[in-house]
C-alpha cells in the first residue's frame, strides 16, 4: 500500500466512524427539543422525564461526534494538502462558515441546555435545544455543500495560471442541484436514526417494565407506579418518526438517483454493475441479489425487477441507462487532455470499484426499508394501549437503531466510492490530492493511532450508553425557576 491508499483508508475509517454519531446528534436533538417543548406547553411530567432521559443519551453521543469531527477538519490539510491547495478557494469557505455559524451555536447552546436547569427560565431552556438542533442542520448544510461540489462542481472557474479552481459564484455552490437534494436526504435519514434510537431504547424499556409488572411477585404499588405508558408513548413517537422520515428518505433518494444519472452517470451504472448501455424503449432491470463476480461477464442475478433501474435512473420505465463500457470510453475521450496539470497523471480507467458500489447501494436501501418495516410493525403492535412483551421485540429494539445508522454508512461509502477515481468530479483525481510531504510512515502512524483510539472509544461509549439506557428515566422532579433558587444550594446539574 502506498501513501495514497493509506490516506484513503484513513479518511474512510475516520469519516465513516464520525458519521455514526452525526445522524444520532441531528435526530436526537430534534426529539429532545420536542419533548422539552411538550413539557413546557403541557406541564405533563412524562415529557420532562423523557427530555432529560434522552438528553443524557444525546450528550453521551454528542461528545464523540464532536471530537471525531475535529479530526475531519484537520485531515484535509494533513493528508490531502494538494487537494486543499486546489479547492481551498471554494471548499474552505463552507467549512469556515460551518464552524462560525453552526459549531458555535451547537457547542454554546448545548452547554446552556446541560447546565441550564434552574438557571434559566423554562421556555428559554427548551429553546436552547432547538437552537442546538438548528446548529446541527446548518452544520450538515454547509459540509454537504462542500461535498456536493466534489460530486458536481459548480460556481467556479479553473485558473490555468495558478493551476487552481477558483470560486466565482458562492450562491451557486450553496444551491448546487446535488446539494439541494442531498441535504434533505441526509436530514431525513438523520431523523430516521433519531426516531429509531428513541424507538429502540423505549421499546426495550417498555418491555422490561411490562414484564416486571406482570411478574407474580409484583405488588399493586409496582403496577401503579409502572413506567410502561411512559415508554410506550416514546416507542410510538420514535416509530412514527422513523416511518415518516423513512418516506422522506425514499422520496429524496429517488430524486437523487435521477440527478446522479444526469451528473454522474458512471455512478448509477456502477450501482447496478450495468456494463452495456440499455437503450431507450427497452427498460433496464434492477437486480436485488446477484451471485458471481460483478465484472460484467459471470454475474447471475437471482432476483431481478424488470425495468426498475430505468425508472430509478430516469423516471421512465423504458428510459435509456448508459453502461460502464460506453461511459468509460466517453470519459477517456473527454478527460484525456483536460489541460489541468493536477489531473495530468489521471488513471486511465474511469470506473469505480463495482462490487463496493453494487452492494453498498443495496445494503443502504435494504437497511432503510428494514428499519421502516420494524417501525411499522411496532406501531401496529402497540396500537390501542397494547404493550407487547414478546422476546423478538428485544432483537427489534437492538436492530432498529443500528439499521439506519449503518444504512447511512453504506450510503456514504456508495456515493464516495462511486465518484472514484475522481476527488472532484471531472477536475481532480484522488491520487493527485494527497499530501506530497507526508511520509508513508506518518500516515501509518496516524492510521494505527486513530483506529486503536476509535475502537477503544467505541467500547467506552457503547457501554456508557447502555448503562444509561438501563438506568431508565429518572423520577419526576419539578424544575425550579431561577428566581426560586437558593444561592448556596447544590447545583441541579454539575460535572
Amino acid at each position: 500500500m502506498d501513501a495514497t491508499d493509506l490516506a484513503r483508508w484513513q479518511f474512510a475509517i475516520t469519516t465513516v466512524y464520525h458519521f455514526l454519531f452525526v445522524p444520532v446528534t441531528i435526530g436526537l436533538s430534534f426529539v429532545v427539543a420536542v419533548f422539552h417543548s411538550a413539557w413546557v406547553r403541557t406541564a405533563n411530567p412524562d415529557w420532562l422525564r423523557l427530555a432529560k432521559f434522552f438528553g443524557k443519551l444525546f450528550t453521551i453521543n454528542f461528545a464523540l461526534g464532536l471530537v471525531t469531527g475535529l479530526v475531519q477538519e484537520f485531515q484535509f490539510g494533513m493528508n490531502w494538502s494538494d487537494y486543499s491547495r486546489f479547492v481551498g478557494d471554494i471548499f474552505g469557505a463552507p467549512l469556515a462558515i460551518e464552524a462560525l455559524l453552526a459549531f458555535f451555536l451547537e457547542s454554546t447552546f448545548l452547554g446552556l441546555w446541560i447546565f441550564g436547569w434552574g438557571r434559566i427560565p423554562q421556555r428559554l431552556h427548551a429553546a436552547t435545544m432547538w437552537i442546538v438542533h438548528v446548529g446541527t442542520l446548518l452544520s450538515a448544510y454547509f459540509i454537504l455543500a462542500a461535498n456536493s461540489f466534489m460530486q458536481h462542481p459548480v460556481g467556479y472557474r479553473f485558473n490555468p495560471a495558478t493551476g487552481r479552481a477558483e470560486l466565482t459564484d458562492f450562491w451557486a455552490v450553496l444551491t448546487n442541484k446535488v446539494q439541494l437534494v442531498t441535504f434533505p436526504h441526509i436530514a431525513f435519514s438523520a431523523y430516521m436514526v433519531g426516531g429509531a434510537v428513541v424507538m429502540g431504547v423505549a421499546l426495550h424499556l417498555m418491555r422490561r417494565e411490562a414484564r416486571r409488572r406482570s411478574e407474580p411477585e409484583a405488588t399493586d404499588r409496582d403496577a401503579a407506579g409502572s413506567d410502561v405508558s411512559l415508554y410506550r408513548r416514546a416507542t410510538r413517537l420514535g416509530a412514527a418518526l422513523t416511518l415518516v422520515a423513512g418516506l422522506g428518505v425514499a422520496a429524496t433518494g429517488d430524486i437523487q438517483g435521477k440527478i446522479m444519472t444526469e451528473v454522474q452517470p458512471m455512478k448509477m451504472a456502477a450501482a447496478e454493475a450495468l456494463y452495456e448501455t440499455s437503450p431507450a424503449g427497452v427498460g433496464a432491470p434492477f437486480s436485488v441479489l446477484t451471485i458471481g463476480s460483478l465484472d460484467g461477464q459471470r454475474a447471475t442475478p437471482l432476483i431481478e425487477v424488470p425495468r426498475l433501474l430505468s425508472f430509478l435512473a430516469t423516471g421512465s420505465f423504458t428510459g435509456e441507462v448508459r453502461g460502464i463500457t460506453d461511459l468509460k470510453a466517453e470519459y477517456a475521450a473527454r478527460y484525456g487532455a483536460s489541460g489541468n496539470p493536477l489531473t495530468a497523471d489521471r488513471e486511465t480507467a474511469y470506473v469505480p470499484n463495482i462490487p463496493t458500489t453494487y452492494w453498498t447501494f443495496r445494503l443502504m436501501i435494504g437497511a432503510g426499508v428494514a428499519a421502516a418495516a420494524i417501525a411499522a410493525a411496532v406501531l401496529w403492535l402497540t396500537r390501542k394501549g397494547r404493550a407487547p412483551t414478546a422476546r423478538w421485540l428485544l432483537y427489534a429494539a437492538v436492530a432498529a437503531p443500528l439499521l439506519p445508522v449503518f444504512g447511512n454508512s453504506f450510503g456514504w461509502i456508495f456515493t464516495e466510492v462511486g465518484r472514484q477515481p475522481w476527488l472532484v468530479f471531472g477536475l481532480m483525481t484522488t491520487a493527485t490530492g494527497v499530501s506530497p510531504s507526508v511520509s508513508v510512515g506518518e500516515v501509518i502512524t496516524s492510521m494505527v493511532v486513530y483506529t486503536l483510539l476509535y475502537g477503544a472509544l467505541a467500547v467506552v461509549e457503547v457501554k456508557l450508553f447502555l448503562t444509561y439506557v438501563r438506568r431508565g428515566a429518572e423520577p419526576f422532579e419539578a424544575p425550579k425557576e431561577p428566581s426560586d433558587l437558593d444561592e448556596d444550594a447544590p447545583l441541579v446539574f454539575a460535572y
Partner: protein, 349 residues
Amino acid sequence: MDLPTLWFVLLAVLWTGYLVLEGFDFGVGMLFPVLGGRAFAADAQDAEKRRRVLLNTIGPVWDGNEVWVITAGGATFAAFPHWYATMFSGFYLPLLLILVALILRNLGIDYRHKRPEQAWKGRWDKAIFWGSLAPAFLWGVALTNVVRGVPIDARKEFTGNLFTLLGPVGLLGGLVFVALFLTHGAIFVALKTDGPVRADARRVAALTGTVALALAGALLLVLGLGQGKPASWATSAVAALAFAAALLANARGREGWAFTGTAVTIASSVATYFLLLYPNVMPSTISPAYNLTIDNAASTSYTLTVMSIVAAVFTPVVVLYQGWTYWVFRKRLTAQHIPEDVHLQAAAR
C-alpha cells in the same frame, strides 16, 4: 486595508479568541492534580470535591471555547489555502498528538461525572491533565516555529520533520504557552470560585506567574532580536506590562483585573506573533523566495469578500451569545454547590 491583510488580522483575532478562552481551560485541566491533589486537598474526599469544583468552572463554556480553533482552522483553509495545506501537512505528527490529546481531554470532561467509580474518574483525570498539557505545549511549539520559519521548498512543501520543530526556541515557545496558560487558568479559577480553592489558586498563580514572566520575557526578547519591528516591540511591551499588572492584581486579590491582565497578555502576545510574521504567513528558512506570504498563499478576492461579509455579520453575534453564557454562569462555585455523585442503578420508584 486590502483583503488578504484583513484576513491576516481576522486570523489573529480568531487565534486570540482561541488562546484566551481555551487557554484557561487548558490551565484548569493542568491544575487538576495540583489544586485537586495532595498539595492542597485535606484528603481524598476533599480532592474529589475540589476537582469537581475546578471542572465546573469551565463546564458550561469549554466546548464553545474550543470552536474558536476549528473556526481558525477553517478560516485559514478558506482565506489562505496554501498556508493551511503547508502547515497542516508539514506539522503532521504534532497535530496528530494535539488531536488525540483534545479527543481524550474532551471526553474526560464530558464522561468523568457519568460514573461514580473512582477508577473511572481517575482514568479520565489523567486524560484531562495530559490532554490539556500536551496541546498547550504543542501549540506553543508549532506557532513559534511558524513565526521563526521552517524549511519550505519551491513547491510550498515543508521538507523538515518532527525534530526540525523541536529546536530550542520552539521548545521555549511550548514552555511559555504552558506557563502562561497555567497562570491564566489559576487566575480564572480564583475568579470563578470561593473559599479555599480560590485562595489556593491565587497562590499557584503567583508562583507559575513568576516563572511565566521570566520565560515569556526571554522568548519575546529572542523573537524580537531576531526579526523585531517597532510595532512588535510595542505589543511585546504591552504583553509584559499587562502580565506584571495581572500578577500584582492577583497578589491584592483583585481577580477580575488579574484575569483581564492575563487575557491582554495573551492577546498582545498573539499580536506580537502576527506582527513578526507580517507580510509572511509562513516564512521559509531555505530561501526568502519560498516564503508563503499573505499574497501568494491567499484565496481570490471574491472568496475573501464573501468570507468577509459572513464574518462581519456573524462574529459579533457569536461573541454576544458566548458572552451571555458567561453571564448566565457567572456565580462563584464552592464545594457546597457540588451535588452528589451520579447513581447508576435503575431509578427507584
